[in-house]
């Protein structure tokens, strides 16, 4: 075990070494070739200035092209080819997808996730950010609500599977949800297999994780609201709840949109939770899980897998455009 860890550390040293060798080495060469002592080169400074940025950028650009740009192009291409990627089949894969009941189920479930997870995360996030700013133990409260952000989706799935655990109605329940239901005089349920509603029990896990994220961002945004605005409202006799709903929320609408889109992207890619909890059984399939399934099902079908990935991409594009638009606006304002 120690040897394996040593290996990892060696890899770190090696990687740092290679990076340093590249950056320091190219810089050294650049300085040598375009130095003042080199009389054979006219316009040294201009060359130096033109080349240096690219030396800084090349490794990063190389990674971006190999791991993101090229694969995106390739996935688009493969979505028009058959399972091995050899024969062009036009829109056949797309038609297959929309006629496939599993795919339809996944689209439907993804829509449910897209509606409920951002709404609930934002509402709980706003509520806890607002409340935590009013009490002296707010920092501790925020820390605790924020904590699930550090937990992996799989870890969170184990935590919640334990909450949802089901035993027969005649025995003691060890899952807290069923124990609570029985305390209220209800019948215990196998929540995970309860078709349609089980989607919501999976969504709870993501809401549990993302609320902390929303809360932290909102908390910072709420602090940014000028105190005079709130004071003026208080003097006019507005109640705290009115101030929150009528003044604070409209003031941070931009931030709410940013949080909303960030969570939306996470929701679109949701995979681990569904894989760990149900693997798409009992009508809980989602796109990312279905895509993963088709990557390996029957030796892997790159055409169908790519089509499913494209669906996620299509949904992301509006957000991408909006982000770029916002970025441009900000740059102009600088």
């Amino acid at each position: 075990m120690a040897v394996q860890l040593l290996n990892a550390l060696l890899a770190v040293v090696l990687a740092i070494g290679v990076c340093l060798l590249y950056f320091v080495g190219t810089n050294y060469l650049l300085e040598r070739i375009f130095s003042d002592k080199n009389y054979y080169f006219p316009n040294k400074d201009r060359w130096h200035r033109a080349i240096q940025p690219w030396l800084f950028l090349t490794p990063a650009l190389l990674f971006l092209v190999v791991y993101l740009v090229y694969p995106v192009y390739e996935t688009i291409r493969l979505s028009f080819f058959n399972f091995g990627g050899f024969d062009y089949v036009g829109f056949k894969n797309y038609i297959w997808a929309f006629e496939n009941p599993e795919f339809q189920q996944a689209i439907l479930n993804n829509l449910l996730w897209l509606v409920f997870v951002p709404i609930l995360s934002v509402v709980f996030g706003l509520l806890s950010a607002w409340l935590a700013d009013k009490v002296w133990w707010g920092t501790i409260a925020k820390s605790l609500i924020f904590m699930p952000m550090a937990i992996s989706f799989v870890g969170a799935s184990v935590i919640w599977k334990f909450v949802y655990d089901y035993r027969g109605p005649d025995t003691d329940q060890i899952g807290s949800l069923n124990a609570f239901v029985m305390l209220l005089g209800g019948e215990p349920q196998a929540w995970i297999t309860l078709s349609f509603w089980n989607n919501f029990f999976l969504m709870v896990i993501l809401v549990w994780i993302q609320t902390g994220f929303a809360m932290v961002i909102f908390s910072a945004a709420l602090r940014g609201i000028p105190e005079e605005t709130l004071e003026a409202a208080r003097i006019d006799g507005a109640r705290e709840i009115q101030i929150f709903l009528r003044i604070m929320i409209p003031q941070i609408l931009g931030t709410i949109m940013v949080v909303w889109t960030t969570i939306t992207i996470i929701v679109l890619k949701i995979f681990d939770i569904v894989l760990a909890m149900t693997n798409g059984q009992w009508n809980t399939e989602v796109l990312a899980n279905l895509m993963f399934d088709w990557m390996f099902r029957g030796g892997g079908d790159s055409g169908r897998g790519s089509v499913i990935a494209m669906m996620i991409m299509f949904a992301v594009i509006p957000i991408m455009v909006w982000n770029i638009h916002n970025f441009r606006q900000e740059e102009k304002a600088r």
């Binding site: 075990m1 860890l5 290996n7 890899a11 770190v12 990687a15 990076c19 300085e31 240096q52 800084f56 950028l57 490794p59 990063a60 990674f63 971006l64 791991y67 993101l68 694969p71 995106v72 996935t75 709980f124 509520l127 409340l131 009490v135 409260a141 605790l144 699930p148 952000m149 550090a150 992996s152 799989v154 870890g155 599977k161 334990f162 655990d165 003691d172 060890i174 807290s176 549990w208 932290v216 945004a221 705290e240 960030t262 679109l268 890619k269 995979f271 760990a276 990312a288 993963f292 990557m295 790159s302 990935a309 996620i312 991409m313 992301v316 991408m320 982000n323 770029i324 970025f327 441009r328």
Partner: protein, 383 residues
Amino acid sequence: MISLYRKTFNFGQILSSMLLLFLVLLWIMPTLGLFISSFRDKDQLALTGWWTALSTTERNEFRRTGTRKDQIERDGKYIISGNLFKKGGKTIQTFSTNFRNLTKYKAGVTAQFKDGSLFILHENGEYEWVSNHPFKHKRGKRIFYVANVAPAFSLDNYREVLAAEGVGQSFINTLRVTIPATVIPIMIASFAAYAFAWMEFSGRQFLFVSVVGLLVVPLQMSLIPLLSMYNEIGKFFGVTAKSYPGIWLAHTGFGLPLAIYLLRNYMGSLPREIIESARIDGATHFQIFTRLVLPLSVPALASFCIFQFLWVWNDLLVALVFLGKKDDEIVLTSKLRELLGSRGDNWEILTSSAFISIIIPLIVFFTLQRYFVRGLVTGSVKS
């Protein structure tokens, strides 16, 4: 009027506190349940809820006595003795030979069975069965009892998963993936970020806008082409397609857009005068970057490091695609998923494994929360 205002305000204050307390309890309860359960005795864990962990519970069970082989002869009497329990923690209240009447005999009081034999069962499970005739039964007699079970906590579950279930090895594997996959991107990204922030070159705007676009490209778009690319490369060089260097590079590629974006925004917000006066003093870009900008960017570097560390540690998808499932490759998240499938009802294994997988992120999170929050807030809050 003023006093009325103060009164409602206080009432609001109490209401806020209560509501927040409720939210906090709701949020920590699931994790707390897992944490407490992972230390509980596995028999107790399977039978009672974690919220009863501290209370003594009453349980109805049965055990068998020794058989005729265990009997000894002393003073013309035949005796079977022993202890019903292998380990302690239970206190017997009453017992019986019939499950319908569990309170028939009291613990510690000698009972006379129908065949005339005398049976005494002590609270700690020790018994002595005395008869005038030799015992003939091949199977032990069933003794039904009502026992109080004291709460039992131990590290047994952890010991079991770390060694027998291979979670310890997975922990090492996760570390092996995470450390290089956090360090490599930060170096590459900081150089690129500096170029985007402070160097003049054509196409700068276009390239950075592309990075902003790549920020949201779903991982799913990369998986199929990269998987076949890795397979091709593996075949070409005659090596395995799934390897540690492979996953380090993949995580580097996927982490770069965020790294470049965060670092460029931070470096770009450093005061222009510092960089320009250094330029005037004759410093090269390389010197400015390594001696001035990099040390000043430590907070941003730290927040990206935490992001990347948590993301890689908690990742399942990339590990499933780019790394194998052999003992020396399977990472914690992947291991945990396998355990969910194969040991779905063994909560003592699942709870302790899950806790092992989340403990490092939680430590990182709580000690470095400040940097983490700062990184999150940068770029998210609109002024």
